[in-house]
């Protein structure tokens, strides 16, 4: 099966690893402030080299030409710069981006090379359980210098992007951008089925990590064909210790088997997972909740999305996968 390119932060980290391996310099763009209507929001990153954007977007294509011009300058001078894409005035429609969005994006472009601490720190985010806190100087002589912290690790760099031993490089605390970069959402798929393959394509494109728990040979084949990021080949209760110690952003009971879904829902009820989905019709959900008992059902109630997914209509594995992915996207975007 041809796998879709990974999206979101994971896609950027894939590109970051590739560009590091090439041994050439690159520029990392980080949106640190926005207002009004903008295509992307603070914390979104884009990777550029001398030829232009290598991975990521900050707009529908309207702002990238100017971004690329600036990135070439940053790479040439080895010095960070900020760009202010101000699309609020009529002049921007004629002379600038031409978008008419009436928003504003402020972005920092940082020169990076070799083992640049910021890029090294970001690569740790792929499998992190916590958010990374980043602080970067956005003005003055030390523009571009900053620090990053993730769990017990920390990194510091100078304005040329290279390592800095002092963890307090800022000359002016008022001109510091402070960002919290969340790790990629991690989705626990409890059981596999025909919808696993299209669902995995969506999770890849949206930049989520997937763990599939499946021990039944016939259904395991679906998980393997889907190329999930991780497959735990164990029955529900045996598998639980492995995923319970991880950060899980969403879990979906989707085994197509009443008894297995019952066990997985009971296991999920004892966690703090914020989104728990259940595949199947409402009557089946009600029967499962009744069998789980009042206490367990009460622990699930505020988090349970059953039937899982947005009610888009349609039938078959592709429509079901789209519905599940849409529901998850709404949850991750804070719109649920």
């Amino acid at each position: 099966m041809t796998l879709a390119q990974r999206g979101g932060l994971l896609g950027l980290l894939d590109a970051l690893q590739a560009v590091r391996a090439c041994g050439e310099a690159w520029a990392l763009g980080i949106i640190f402030a926005t207002s009004g209507s903008t295509y992307q929001k603070p914390g979104v990153m884009v990777l550029l080299d001398r030829a232009g954007v290598r991975h990521g977007v900050i707009s529908g294509g309207c702002l990238e030409p100017e971004l690329e011009e600036c990135a070439r300058r940053v790479l040439e001078n080895g010095r960070a710069e900020t760009i202010d894409f101000d699309m609020r005035a009529d002049e921007d429609i004629t002379f600038g981006s031409g978008t008419g969005c009436r928003g504003r994006i402020r972005l920092l472009l940082l020169p990076q090379q070799g083992d640049a601490p910021l890029s090294a720190a970001l690569l740790k985010l792929a499998d992190a359980d916590d958010a990374m806190r980043i602080a970067i100087d956005i003005a003055g002589e030390t523009i571009g210098s900053g620090t990053a912290a993730l769990s017990d690790s920390s990194w510091a760099w100078k304005c040329d992007g290279q390592p800095f031993s002092n963890a307090e490089p800022f000359e002016n605390a008022f001109d510091v951008a402070r960002l919290s970069i969340e790790p990629p959402p991690r989705v626990l798929l409890l059981g596999a089925g025909a919808e696993s393959v299209p669902l995995q394509q969506f999770t890849r494109q949206l930049g989520w990590k997937s763990i599939v728990v499946e021990h039944r040979g016939r259904w395991l084949d679906f998980a393997q064909r889907a190329c999930a990021d991780e497959i735990v080949e164990q029955a529900p209760e045996s598998a639980a210790p492995a995923w319970r110690i991880r950060r899980i952003d969403a879990a979906i009971a989707m085994s197509h088997n009443y008894g297995i879904d019952l066990k997985n829902l009971a296991l999920c009820a004892d966690t703090d997972i914020g989104y728990i989905g259940l595949l199947g019709p409402a009557a089946r959900r009600d029967a499962l909740l009744a069998d789980l008992g009042d206490a367990t059902a009460a622990r699930l109630r505020d988090r349970l999305h059953a039937p899982v997914g947005l009610a888009l209509g349609g039938s078959g594995p592709d429509a079901i996968a789209l519905s599940i992915a849409a529901g998850l996207q709404r949850h991750f975007a804070g719109r649920a």
Binding site: E64, P65, E66, R72, A89, T94, F95
Partner: protein, 151 residues
């Protein structure tokens, strides 16, 4: 929101009612200006005889900056020789890059001073000039994009 600049109005006036827009059946030279990445396309026809540009018409679909630049250029180059046109084009390029602050004799082209803040759009203003210079040297196509650099 910032107040609207007078330069904005100059560009919009030329975009909405471009001078010398159309075709020139008796033309001696012609060229196509294409910036494929941003979608600008300009067809330019010129009657140039005895070291003198007698008439110019242009057509095509482009952004406001390209159309306005072509319109303003079409007024300025009539009666000029090729070396004079080359000099005007070079001066205009220096002006929008911020390397020449002298607005004298630029006429409405001074409206493009805004492009000093928008480097990525300079190629739009320069496309008509590059197309005219291409036409006068016998080249069929001109561009101000660098495809290897994404524009």
């Amino acid at each position: 929101m910032e107040p609207k600049s007078p330069y904005h109005d100059i560009v919009l006036r030329h975009q909405r009612d471009p001078h010398n827009f159309g075709t020139l059946p008796e033309h001696t030279h012609a060229s196509e200006g294409i910036n494929a990445l941003c979608g600008d396309r300009l067809h330019l026809e010129v009657d140039y005889r005895d070291e003198n540009l007698i008439a110019l018409r242009f057509s095509g679909e482009s952004c406001a900056i390209t159309i306005a630049s072509a319109s303003i250029m079409s007024d300025m180059v009539v009666g000029q020789t090729k070396p004079a046109i080359d000099a005007m084009a070079s001066r205009f390029a220096r002006f929008i890059e911020g390397d020449d602050d002298d607005e004298k004799s630029l006429g409405d082209l001074r409206a493009f001073v805004e492009l000093r803040r928008h480097a990525a759009r300079r190629k739009c203003a320069l496309l008509p000039w590059a197309t005219l210079r291409a036409a006068l040297t016998g080249a069929v196509v001109a561009t101000t994009e660098n495809p290897s650099l994404g524009g």
